[in-house]
Amino acid sequence: MELFLMTLTTGIMVGGIYALVALGWVLIYKCSGVLNLAMGELTLIGAYVTLSFYTAGVPFILSVICTLIIGIVLGILVERIFLDRLIGEPILAVIMVTVGLSFFLKGAIGFIWGTDTMVFTPAIFSLKPFTIGFLKISTVYFWSFILAIVLFLVFVAFFKYTRWGLSMQATADDETAALSLGVSARFVYAAAWAIAFMSAGVGGALLGNINGINISIGYLGLLVLPAVVLGGLNSIPGAVVGGITIGILQNFAGTYLDGFFPGGVKEIFPFAFMAIFLLFMPYGFWGWEKIERM
């Protein structure tokens, strides 16, 4: 029972980070219809940028804020250079541009930071877990979860209460109507990519705190795909639920299935789950159902 509860809490907390990354993904899809396969690399970039700032002596919170600013710049650049020209192209072209982008970014990251695993030194969070009741919670997970949730709320507030956020919502809802009301669609696309870079970057920085930073963080960023499929591609609450569910499922698979299938069941279980889930509910729990008889 204790093992069960601990797995559950760890799952929820890691899932919180996935949810943050998934938010960025869903936002890009909602606003511009781009299915982004470069999310893993966005996560990696965030992790490495934060690490670089932190190693240079900037306090952690400040380095996260610097990462956010760099994320905005990179997001706008990427959108302007690569994706702006492909609006309205077939789905394969757009997806493959994001794949090309992911290769480019991966190459650039490898060139700049190398392949060795790097850790935040000195460690930001203490290694000693703290206890609530009988639950032992690792400090890293706890604070990462809190930070992820805070950022998530900031983003949601941004959409609900600011003029820019509202214009993004309008574009996501009906692009033509938004354009006729004077919303600049190009601005919205750029903003969506900027936010995706920001959320993925902070997600990456938090994930990097858990096990150190190397290329495998990029793989964790890919886990956002099962998460968004589960929640439905264009639903922000779906992204939260999906992210947390994937976190929980992954940890349960690691704890309970590892005995039966030794090896990397924890890594591939979300994808196997996604493949089967797609057979039954391709539009996820909250996605828009497009009725297409096949």
């Binding site: 992911s102 490898g110 499929v229 990397g264």
Partner: protein, 371 residues
């Protein structure tokens, strides 16, 4: 539209002629010339080391392997609209089936003496990879587009990162890799142990695959695939069984992937799951995007990508004198160059090299009196 340019005043009398492979004598001559080059001239040059030495023969084998894989991807993406990002999984299944059959199957003595073990294993590898591909193609009955991409990605992770790495690689207690010492692979009286023999195996397999694929595409099956790609709902109203044809497409593409994998076995000394990363699936899709549509697109793309990477490497070697880290980091440069190439082609040349080739041919067909 037939892709063959006909001189003014030439008409076909029968549909059979219209569907023919070599419609004019010029086309026939060109194709025979091409076959002559790949089957006779390149091996002869390699034999006497004129221009082509062992290194470039290795590059040619790499091009052939890429083309064999890319043809399967072209069949899925280019002809049936089934976007796949997991084709390396099927290549891996083929490679492992073939290896396991060669190394572990109790072949009767005559099979080893006559050297038919490896050819049989190639065919079985194709069949197994095809069936494995159908298994992951099943969701295509219900989903398409992005969702299919996710399923094929899942195929990649489940097959290579889990089944092959954790279980199949451990058969026989070898740990990570199956070693294939020279002399293991034998076709008829020949041991496939030198680059030139691998080259011949590659070019024969590639020619056969291209022939099979070209024939399939001008048959009922190929027309059904193209109809599904263009509009699946309309195709269904025409009485095409969509699910059956999609699964058939997955099977044929998987079969080709399996053959590619089984071929690759002959070219490497040891087989491990690292030969088939997700990167390789994406690479194959990139190859056909750069190459453009059609069978020639897949081959142009393979030549282009492999050659560009070779040239990059050759450019990197002299630079290493001034900046030694560049050799160590070459894998990253390769990644970045590949990514940029995909993006640049999609943005500036979305129809790929084969379209450009088609334009050049048309220009010279009318040269010097174009309109």
């Amino acid at each position: 539209m037939t892709r063959v340019w006909l001189p003014c005043g030439d008409y076909h009398q029968y549909y059979a002629e219209d569907q023919g492979w070599w419609q004019t004598n010029v086309v026939k001559g060109k194709m025979i010339f091409l076959l002559l080059i790949v089957f006779v001239i390149i091996p002869l040059f390699a034999q006497y080391e004129i221009i082509i030495d062992g290194y470039w023969l290795g590059v040619a084998n790499m091009i052939g392997y890429t083309a064999l894989g890319a043809l399967g991807v072209q069949l899925l993406i280019g002809y049936a609209g089934l976007i796949t990002l997991g084709h390396a999984a099927f290549i891996a299944v083929g490679a492992y089936t073939s290896t396991l059959l060669i190394l572990r199957f109790p072949w009767p003595q005559f099979a080893i003496d006559w050297g038919i073990a490896y050819p049989i294993s190639i065919i079985i590898a194709g069949l197994v990879a095809g069936l494995w591909s159908v298994l992951f193609g099943l969701p295509s009955a219900r989903v398409k587009g992005f969702y299919l991409i996710l399923t094929t990605m899942a195929a990649q992770f489940i097959t290579v990162d889990f089944v092959l790495t954790q279980y199949v690689s451990k058969i026989g207690g070898r740990g990570q890799a199956f070693s294939l010492p020279p002399g293991t692979i034998k076709i008829g009286p020949w041991f496939i142990d030198t680059d030139i023999k691998v080259y011949f195996l590659m070019i024969i397999l590639l020619t056969l695959t291209v022939m099979v694929m070209a024939n399939l595409l001008r048959s009922r099956v190929g027309r059904a695939w193209i109809a599904i790609r263009d509009n699946d709902i309309a195709a269904e109203t025409l009485g095409i069984n969509i699910v059956w044809y999609k699964l058939l497409n997955f099977f044929v593409a998987g079969f080709m992937g399996g053959i590619a994998g089984a071929f690759w076995v002959s070219n490497c000394a040891a087989l491990s799951p690292e030969h088939f990363p997700w990167f390789w699936s994406l690479w194959l899709v990139g190859v056909i995007l750069i190459g453009g549509g059609g069978i020639d697109g897949a081959i142009f793309g393979s030549i282009f990508m492999v050659m560009v990477m070779e040239l990059l490497q050759m450019a990197a070697i002299p630079l290493a004198e001034y900046y030694p880290k560049i050799l160590f980091d070459f894998a990253f440069i390769k990644d970045a160059a590949f990514g940029l190439a995909i993006c640049a082609f999609l943005i500036y040349e979305p129809r790929g090299i084969s379209y450009r080739w088609w334009q050049i041919k048309n220009y010279f067909n009318l040269w010097p009196f174009s309109y």
